[in-house]
Every structure is written in structure tokens, then in C-alpha cells.
Symmetry: C2
Subunit: 326 residues, 2 copies
């Protein structure tokens, strides 16, 4: 077994990558702009040159065991991304192409599944066999781990818990085209939408009225709440309550030992955690009451994406010819 893996996180804006050792130390990392090249071959060439430079600088030539990639809509089974609308090249056999270029085995999955692997390998989920990772970012992602294995489902795409329906009637329009999804409420953008709704529906004074309503971000709501603003606190109560209700429903599916939260909203601390825990326990089927811990990610935010992707690198295998030939 070689001592390192290469983790690559392909986001809509940046592609971050790093060399990681078995204990989760990021030896070195760098990034390139995802959108710079409309042509995937040009993008891959830049990624390869940059990564090789990093590898040579850190005496890691021939020491990379595997490459793990987190990317939107990435399918663990066939190594493809499919209809990833935020990328310049939404559909292609990603694992195959990267593996060909680097001459190293590659495995891919979506960023939330990668985050779950990262927590299990290096973070808050070490030693846990049954947990659900929830990433609270611009959207809401999830990775479900059962018996120590990430659940990929029949088609490689399982674990889209940001798209469970939490408002069956008159729910908000979600980016997926449906209405009432968890993501439309409990993401950073969801919090900003709630702020706009609350400001319109209520007349009380609020620090949030000092800025143009369309510019309000979840960070602004956090800052106002920390200054004691009641309306801002109510926005977090609303958000945490909806997430807690949704988590009570997730519990009956796989009865996890813990939920692990990651991302900007998770860092809002008790502002969101208190209503979340209250709502989760209040809505919990009695047989599961008090059983699931809610804990925060232990990965540094700057490293988390690379660490998550890199964790997958340890299980990357040379592709069978049938798949590689896609």
C-alpha cells in the first residue's frame, strides 16, 4: 500500500485537490478554476500539470495509492457525472478519463457522500458504522452510512436527503423543479429566503431591515441573531425545527447512531442546534427517542472537501475493462 492518496473536489467554481496521508494530514493542496476551460481535455491537462507539480514538490511520485473525486451528480458505480448542470462539461466518464491521464486508479462520488467518507475515515464518525451526514451549504446534501458502507443504491445515486419533501402543500420551489424540499428551507439560500418571507409577513423592527432585502444572506441573519435580534433568532428556530422534523423521519429509515452536520449553517451553534434537537426528539417515534446523537463535523472546513474526496481514493481500484471502455 502506497502512503498517499490524491483527493479532488470539483465544485462549480473551484477545483481543490490535495495529497493526503492515511491519518488525514493534508500534505499539500492547491486549486484551479473549474470554469476556465469549456473543453474537459484542457481542464484535465491543467489539473494534471498542477497536481504533478504538487506531487513532485512533495516527494510523492509513485506514492499515490489512488485518486478520489467528489463531484456533483457523480456516480460511484460507473464513474460518470451525469447532468451536472453547474459544470462546463455536465456529462462524461470522469473516473475513466482521470485514471487514463494519471495512470492511477480513480473512484468518484458526489460531494456529500465524499464528506461522509471523510468523517468516517478521519473525522467525527471514526468508529461509527451507522450514521447520516448532512451538509448544509448553498444546498443540502447527504451521505448515508449503514454498516460502515456508504449507501449508493441501485443506480449509484442514493442519499439525496436534501430532496425529501418537508412541506407537502404550498412548499417553496426548489432548484430541482419540485416544491417543498428540505433544501429549499434548510440551506444557506433557504435561510435567506426565510428572512425575506419573515420580513414581509411581520412588521416588528429588526436589524435585518437596515439592508436591501434581496441582499440578505444567511451570514447576515446569523450576525443579527448574535446581536439579539428576535426576528433573526426566529428564522433560526424555524430552520432548525424543520431540519429536526426531517431528521426524525430519517431515523425510522436506518436508525443511525448519529447525525453529523457540516457546513456554514451547522456552525451557527445553538441558534440552530437547540430548535433542531428539540424538534427531532419531539417528533421522534418513541422507540428511537434519545438514541441518535447530533454532532458537528470535525474536519476543518478548508480541508474538508479534499479530505472527503481523498478518503474515497483508498478504495479506488483499477477499472474493469468493461467499465473503463465506456
Amino acid at each position: 500500500m502506497k502512503p498517499y492518496v490524491l483527493g479532488i473536489d470539483i465544485g462549480g467554481t473551484n477545483t481543490v485537490f490535495g495529497i493526503v496521508d492515511a491519518r488525514g494530514n493534508v500534505i499539500a493542496s492547491s486549486s484551479i478554476k473549474t470554469q476556465k476551460h469549456a473543453n474537459f481535455e484542457d481542464y484535465l491537462e491543467e489539473l494534471y500539470v498542477e497536481a504533478q507539480r504538487l506531487i513532485e514538490l512533495n516527494d510523492a511520485v509513485d506514492k499515490i495509492q489512488g485518486i478520489g473525486i467528489g463531484a456533483p451528480n457523480a456516480n460511484y458505480y460507473n464513474g460518470c457525472i451525469d447532468n451536472a448542470v453547474n459544470l462546463p462539461w455536465p456529462s462524461l466518464p470522469l473516473a475513466h478519463l482521470v485514471s487514463d491521464k494519471f495512470g492511477i486508479p480513480v473512484a468518484v462520488t458526489n460531494d456529500a457522500n465524499a464528506a461522509a467518507l471523510g468523517e468516517m475515515t478521519y473525522g467525527a464518525a471514526r468508529g461509527l458504522k451507522d450514521f447520516i451526514m448532512i451538509t448544509l451549504g448553498t444546498g443540502v446534501g447527504s451521505g448515508v452510512v449503514i454498516n460502515g458502507q456508504v449507501v449508493y443504491g441501485h443506480d449509484g445515486l442514493a442519499g439525496e436527503l436534501g430532496h425529501v419533501i418537508i412541506k407537502r402543500n404550498n412548499g417553496r420551489l426548489c432548484g430541482c423543479g419540485r416544491t417543498g424540499c428540505l433544501e429549499a428551507y434548510c440551506s444557506a439560500t433557504g435561510v435567506a429566503r426565510t428572512a425575506r418571507e419573515f420580513l414581509e409577513a411581520r412588521s416588528e423592527p429588526s436589524l435585518l431591515r437596515n439592508m436591501p432585502v434581496e441582499d440578505i444572506t444567511s451570514k447576515d441573519v446569523y450576525d443579527a441573531a448574535m446581536q439579539g435580534d428576535q426576528l433573526a433568532k426566529d428564522i433560526f428556530n424555524f430552520t432548525g425545527t424543520l431540519l429536526g422534523e426531517a431528521m426524525a423521519d430519517m431515523m425510522v429509515f436506518s436508525s443511525p447512531e448519529a447525525f453529523i452536520l457540516f457546513g456554514g449553517l451547522a456552525k451557527s451553534g445553538e441558534l440552530i442546534m437547540r430548535p433542531l434537537r428539540d424538534a427531532m426528539e419531539r417528533n421522534m417515534l418513541s422507540m428511537f427517542k434519545g438514541k441518535a446523537k447530533v454532532i458537528l463535523s470535525e474536519l476543518k472546513e478548508a480541508d474538508a472537501a479534499v479530505l472527503g474526496a481523498s478518503a474515497l481514493g483508498w478504495e479506488a481500484k483499477p477499472m474493469p475493462a468493461a467499465v473503463a471502455g465506456l
Copy 2:
């Protein structure tokens, strides 16, 4: 490997058991009354005597590989039933006691998980690795299979999908004490409740008005619908739509290849299947549209409970001393 297993299904009224071979043939079966003995030792003695009689009659002495038991609130990991309110002895170390009595390894799980195992071993799920079993009876039960394994979760009690919340506001009171559960709508009792609600809320004529409203069963609704009664058909539309919406939500969790339906309501055919399939696809996240089959159980209803429980018998192992000593 011995050629037979003993399957035991412990229901609130009857305990049904049978000798089953590896191909799912029920060699012989019998039953006793679950409620006859307030004392579990007396119940177990009667069960043992009856089962031994069956075993001897069928030349199966020393040919039983294991015993599988399906029972309410039965925990796969520790072999216990816990707070099973419909049984005379709601909490006890069931697997341990039965194994001691018979001198044969015993495994237990709840009836819906047993049904999933039964379908996977002998029925409609042969060859499927990722599916969700939904049992539509007096209540709604479920068994989730991922990667060919029943999901038991951290505590052995996972897969209670009858208790996902499908009406967040003003939902019906469920037997679990909460409101809005799937089970309160899509069980046989749920259909009867819907009938009473519809009859009260609407004024049109209906065959269902010919009987005392409190006596209406789901079977009466089925009979009326088959005679063309519009209100009865609407009850099935309502029920199937709610179930289909819930199934679309289940899909984002584990992306199963199929849902397998079992029980009286499932046998209502297109009355429930058409609205169910329509609602499931209409509410499906686009990446999963058209991917999941909805199929009916292939186990004969009379044998299904015994077959399901028996399937668990093949994986029963002698208990480790630490667990047996509970």
C-alpha cells in the same frame, strides 16, 4: 447444512409456524393461540410440543438448521422483544429462550423485515440487492434491503417506514401516539378511516352509505369500488396517492431497484396501484424518475409469514455467550 428451517410468526392473535425447505416449500405448518398463556413459559411449552409433533411427523428430527422468528418489536441484534404491546409478554429475550428450549440456533426480527427476507429468499425479490418491502395490513410495516442485507440500523430496529410523517399539519392520530404517519392513512384501518371522513364530508350517494359507518372495513370499500362506486374509488385514489408520495421520498434515501408490496391493500390491484404509480412518478426527483419498479409480493398470503420468518432461520447462529447470558 441441514435441509430444513423452522419459521415462526408470532402475531397478536395467532402464532403460525412451519417447516420450510431451501426452495421455500412449506413442508408442514400449524398454529397455536398467542394469547392463551399469560405466562411465556407455558406458551413456549405448547409451541415446543406442537412443533416437535410436526417435526417428528415429517421425519425432520435433527434436520432443522435454524429457527427464524418474526415478532413485533423484535430486535435482530440482541434477540429480544421490547415493549410489544399486543403480546401477553411484551418484553423478553425471545431468541435466547426459544433457542434454549429447542436446542437450535434462533434469529428474530420484526414481521416486515422477515417479509423482506422471505421475498429475497423465495419470492419476488430473488436476485434483487436493493429494494424496499412495504406490508400493508392492519398497520404499515417495512423492510429495507441494501446491498442484499436487511437494514437493522444501530439498534436493530430500523425500517419503520409506516411511521414517516406524510401529513405534517392536522394529521390523523396514529397508534404510535404521534400524528400524520403513513400508517394512519395507508393501512387497512386507514382506508376505513378515510371512508368515514369522506362519507361525512361529502353528500353524494354511495354504496357505503348502506352500512353502519363504524362497521365499514377496507374490504367493504374495495367491494364498493369494484361495483363502480365513485366515492369508494376516490378513497383508493386518495390512499394510493399518499403512498406514492411517500415512496418518492423513500427513493431519495436508498434508491432501490424496486418496491415490493404485500398485504390486503396491495391486492386491490389497479384501484390502488394506478394512483400510487402516478403519484410516485409525479413526485419523484428527476434523477430517479422511471427507475423503481413497483411489484407485488409473490408469496402466497397463507404461507408468507412463515416463509418470511423461516428465511431468517438460515442465518441463525448459536448465540455468543455474552448475548445468550442476557
